[in-house]
Assembly symmetry: C2
Homo-oligomer: 344 residues x 2
Amino acid sequence: MAEAPRLAIDAMGGDDGLTTMLAGVAIAAASDPELALTLVGQEKFVYPALESYPALKSRVSIVDAPDIIRGEDGLKSAIRISKTSSIGMAIDLVKQGKCGAAISGGNTAALMSIAKLMLKTMPGIDRPALAALTPTLGDNDVVILDVGANTECDMRNLFEFAVMGAAYARTILGLERPRVGLLNIGTEAQKGTDVIRDTAAALTNADNLALNFCGYVEGHKLSRGDFDVIVCDGFSGNIALKTLEGTARFVTDLLKRAFTSSIRSKFGFLISRPATELLRHHLDPNNHNGGVFLGLNGIVVKSHGSADAKGIANAIAVAARLVRADIARKIADDLANNSMKPAT
Amino acid sequence: MAEAPRLAIDAMGGDDGLTTMLAGVAIAAASDPELALTLVGQEKFVYPALESYPALKSRVSIVDAPDIIRGEDGLKSAIRISKTSSIGMAIDLVKQGKCGAAISGGNTAALMSIAKLMLKTMPGIDRPALAALTPTLGDNDVVILDVGANTECDMRNLFEFAVMGAAYARTILGLERPRVGLLNIGTEAQKGTDVIRDTAAALTNADNLALNFCGYVEGHKLSRGDFDVIVCDGFSGNIALKTLEGTARFVTDLLKRAFTSSIRSKFGFLISRPATELLRHHLDPNNHNGGVFLGLNGIVVKSHGSADAKGIANAIAVAARLVRADIARKIADDLANNSMKPAT
């Protein structure tokens, strides 16, 4: 808690590139005066771009990274240039202990692979997971993990995801004992795969975990606000998260179409605009931005490629909170406290 | 095409029971005068309930089924009473060739298991699949299969789902060469599991299939209208379908909350009501009702448990179209025509 968070920011990532990244960093810096920020990217572009943010200029240090990993780059070529890329050099600052977290809006697969290669998994953790936040009808967002780091998972992986997800929810959502659900195709005991049933048994029998295991959760309950953490393998989690985002967009597109279908409905729309703006705000991915890789020796936050400045600032704030809360220690403590560990 | 469809209807299934079922059957009978309908259920309740539908009464025959499988019944107890239950006796009429299809709004797991046990899979098909229809931004609904019949699938299963789903889309959506996508966590060739990559290769190499294989589809693209058929294992399909339905409900709930948040927005809502009614209509599951078990020796249609009379009539119409189109023959022909069969 004592030390101010030192964050390494990949200045070149994100669909809109440097300009939007800097706008986001400027918002984050202004709202959290303690942050120590390092921008990692091509110096020749970062310096001149910083001219537009005089207040930020005096706050940041710059690390020159000659290469950029593009969204369309394959894993092999990304890893080949990792040591000289903005993604890789930002993560390296975390590895060297110079920064507490790295933030990037770049190529997710590359970020994930390079982070795993450079930082390695925490002692006691078999595989890292990518955790996402999405809105609900309740007071809080819900944490879903894994959403794409591990296509196939065994019982130990899912068990550790539950522990890591709960630590994340305690840190970011401020909950004492997060309600954890296991994603499944029904709520009856016999539903799902052996891996899921074994994980449910292990979580039910585990003592001293700082979480409240609430059993299975089905796809239509993800956004109801009945759970704080949803645990799943990276394949079904990725399908669920993207289906959720796609359907929210689908319904709002239909709504737009409906509202523009007649003069009368256009008029009604104008009148109720403040209300629909609230809806838009609640669903805006920028307000839930910041997917986090949990289980590595260091914090890596993935900002949505399409995030705007506010979204980027949000991802940076998430990283700062995780550093301040020392989430890695929380996860390690939770695993050590559990008296009923699953077979490995 | 020559013979009128003969349909066996489980009169006791569905959350609202007999009354809603009969109301739905009455709508279906009135809109399709050729249908020959058999109601399967407890005679002592069906006869008196029919008094409210004089036009229907003269059109239907009744088969007495003493037992009812309830939603909360486990598989074992359901199968124990299957031969005397309304679900089992409706399916038996299909097995005996007395009816071309069975329709039920009852316990899905029981319906699926009893249908498999009684009807067996079609020659050349390894496993049946449950196919669902869901709305899109395009002109047509999209077919998703499997949405819950098979938790784990191999390449042969997914390949056959593609063939069966395409035959279904040709029949129900009237498309000549449906665009088929394989559900995955990315669109790049290396994404997903071995099973998915092998299936993509088999579908790419297959000749003479009456479908247009369009590669991988991610969760956020399900409702865009770019695909007619989405193929997946029953686990991820169930997660995707339920997440889709749950998110549509979540967004409309948020919208309702937004519209009732102030007097001004309530007023705007009243004015734009015809537009939002259109949205409601488009998303109403009753307009997309009728999940179909494909790949069995006989057609079994699952009506949503919560379907209203209109929804039930829709499921009956789906069954009638599948009988008229002789979908089982279509699927068998497609498999036989494929010159590049996957290894079994």
